[in-house]
Amino acid sequence: MDMAAHHTEVGLSKRKRQLKWSNVNVQKVVVTLTFLFVPLFLLVLFTYLPFFKMVQFSFYDMKYIGARKFVGLQNYVDVFTRDDCFNALKLSLYYMVGSVVQLALALLFATILSFNPKGGNFFRGALYFPSLVCGIAVGFIFKYFYTHGFVLDSILGLLGIPEDMLPFWLKDIRINNWVLVASSIWRYMGQNMVLFIGAIASVDKTQYEAAAIDGANAWHRFRYIILPSIRTIVVLNMILAISGSLSVFEIPYVITDGGFGTSTYFVLMDKLAHANQKVGLASAMAVVLLVLILLVSAVQKLAEKKLDSGIRTSKRRARK
């Protein structure tokens, strides 16, 4: 081979390559795409694809196995005409009330812990701990916790309440949903609290001193300094808590398996999909729930915006 020709060829392609690679933008795109590929692939595979499949299934009369039959919107009609679907949604009201209590408690603990009380780190860890336990395990813990004559009853017994005066926590339909809500609060409160602590840490400390000089007490400090500063985080947690209470699953599923009037929307959906093999109907239920959650979040966001602009105008007025 002619050495010279070879040489120029190599030089040429090298220059071409250099031309390509020296372009920072091209490099950026390639690197970004390479890094993005894995998470996006997983996201598509495990989130979007199943989601599209589910939407597709919701138009069919189908079991897990066997032939499918296209039925159009019949499943959606069923969701809205069956009385059990929306009755199950009513149970979400219990959990919504619970989520208000949960956020209030989280705010309380977060505020207290933000002022470095004695043993603050221990309590922070202890209160956050339930969020680290897997939901199924939490279910089993509370199943035994509430069993007649077990943990809760023994504790109340030590306080002097005789066992035969205590109700059956899970069997009594007047209280069993509240009892489940209580476990749900125990499980998720710590997570909200940690988020609030983080937000409170970003509040400028000098404001407290200034307020103290003006004679503000602890409640004033919370009401007029902390709460306005962390409002965005509070609202975000509220949206999460409300949409979470529409889709409660693990706690009633494990503790009562939906028995004695504790069957939430998700538990019912699971029963229809798996025990009754009505996959299409259950998929339609899931889509309806998704739309509901989107609606709820939209309404909340809208209210938030209204509130925001309201505050801004009142501030402007105050300045004037």
């Binding site: 897990y64 196995i65 398996d257 025990a275």
Partner: protein
């Protein structure tokens, strides 16, 4: 430009993901044409193809035996077939979870066919084991998983439906004669409550699947009619309605309703404990439980008092005569997607399990091979007529399954309907008649959906 590239990559990933998970489907099975090298009926276990090499995976509902009895079976079988390796996987919530697994096609080689599979779907998931004619004279219950006279499943064993009880507790309560009608049964439960510390009837509400046992009593046992389940139940109007002579499905469920309502069951059903109940009945803390005959050996093994555990027919008499349903437990099916070697090995193992392992007798069930000895626990059934449900007529094999699913009552496969009886009896918000009305309405609309005019 960047956006276009990003869009392209996204689209690429979507297709990649789609192909990654959309390829398995029961119908596009890769080995549907692979047949076992020897037909099941011609297999001589221990002589046929002893050098066969295969890896078998078995899905089973018997989680309690995976590490004990099944391991013994494997080593006994391996003495004849050293090159066949067998692994068991136990599944607790069997019907539901196994159905989901089946739809993937790649679940193993042998499984207990879930009750949710329609008969017409059998051939899409399971290898044909033989024609009904091959088994009619030699095997019991060979028609359980059959479509068009083709057998797709060999029963693990047969079950008699009765009540497992503690003899000592019954004696202590002064019960000398076993009850034969619901009224006497309830009176006896009351005696147990008054005279002993035992819980008269334990529902096993919390475990869920245990409640489906009640469904086994409504056909042959409560009617004495072998055509009831696959024929009359499917075609008759309001099958759950009350009969004046207290027979039929209503009588069975009403017994449960009344027992719970009169406080003859455990205080708090939400926290019952399946594993714990075995020791409790064995030690005399429970009077009786309504479970199939398979439960007897497990209750005997639950504690030191194996001799106290006995089995009696369900207390319903039709025209003064007591019947008991005898039916097949789960059936072994062979994966249609397995290779020819795996199918051969699987059938050899199933044949050995059925004919030589003694599984049915150890587990308190009716042996599948006709003429084999019954277990001792079924002694009290000698005077009772055993009723085996007749198969559905040709063309209607699927009908019971379809109506059953569409009605959402899900007899035999889901426990929610039985649980609702217990809940209503405790809450007092519904009578058994009202529950039966609801079921009848659901059953009727499911019948209509499937083109059956209830008569």
């Amino acid at each position: 430009m960047k956006h276009r590239i990003l869009a392209l990559v996204l689209a690429g990933m979507l297709t990649a993901a789609a192909t990654a998970c959309g390829s398995t489907n029961g119908k596009t099975s890769k080995n549907a044409d692979a047949k076992p090298t020897v037909a099941y009926k011609d297999m001589q276990v221990g002589e046929t193809a002893t050098d066969l090499k295969a890896d078998l995976k078995i899905l089973t509902n018997r989680t309690d035996l995976v590490d004990s009895d099944f391991q013994d079976y494997i080593s006994e079988f391996n003495a004849m077939y050293p090159n066949i390796t067998i692994t068991y996987e136990g599944i607790t919530d069997y019907d539901t979870d196994a159905t989901t697994r089946l739809s993937s096609g790649d679940w193993g080689d042998i499984c207990c066919i879930p009750t949710t599979v329609d008969k017409s779907e059998l051939s899409n998931y399971f290898e044909k084991i033989g024609d009904y004619g091959d088994f009619k004279d030699t095997y019991e219950f060979a028609d359980k998983q059959m479509f068009n006279n083709e057998v797709y499943g060999i029963p693990t064993m047969g079950n008699v439906s009765g009540v497992v009880y503690n003899k000592a507790v019954f004696e202590k309560a002064g019960i000398t004669e076993l009850p034969t009608d619901p009224e006497t049964f309830l009176a006896d439960l009351k005696l147990i409550q008054e005279k002993t510390d035992a819980i008269p009837l334990y529902t096993n509400y919390a475990a869920g699947w245990t409640l489906t046992a009640w469904d086994a009593y409504i056909s042959g046992g409560a009617t004495g009619d072998a055509d009831f389940k696959n024929n009359k139940l499917v075609h008759s109007k309001d099958p759950f309605a009350k009969h004046d002579d207290m027979t039929g499905p209503f009588a069975v469920y009403d017994t449960l309703y009344e027992a719970v309502k009169q406080g003859l069951t455990e205080e708090d059903p939400t926290t019952t404990d399946w594993e714990g109940c075995k020791a409790q009945i064995n030690e005399g803390n429970i009077g009786c439980m309504v479970l199939g005959s398979w439960a007897v050996p497990q209750m005997q093994a639950g504690g030191p008092n194996a001799d106290d555990i006995a089995y009696m027919p369900f207390p319903i008499s039709v025209d003064g005569k007591q019947y008991a349903s005898a039916s097949a437990d789960y059936c072994y099916g062979v994966n249609v997607n397995s290779t020819s070697e795996e199918k051969t090995a699987a059938m050899l193992y199933i044949k050995w399990l059925t004919e030589s392992s003694g599984f049915a007798k150890t587990q308190g069930g009716i042996p599948i091979v006709k003429g084999d000895a019954y277990p001792d626990s079924l002694e009290s059934f000698q005077s009772i007529t055993l009723v085996t449900d007749n198969p559905a007529p040709a063309g209607e094999e699927d009908l019971f399954g379809k109506i059953n699913n569409d009605s959402e009552i899900s007899l035999d496969s889901d426990s929610t309907h039985v649980a609702s009886i217990i809940e209503a009896a405790i809450g007092g918000n519904q009578t058994m008649e009202e529950i039966a009305d609801e079921w009848n309405a659901a059953w009727t609309s499911a019948q209509e959906k499937n083109g059956v005019t209830p008569e």
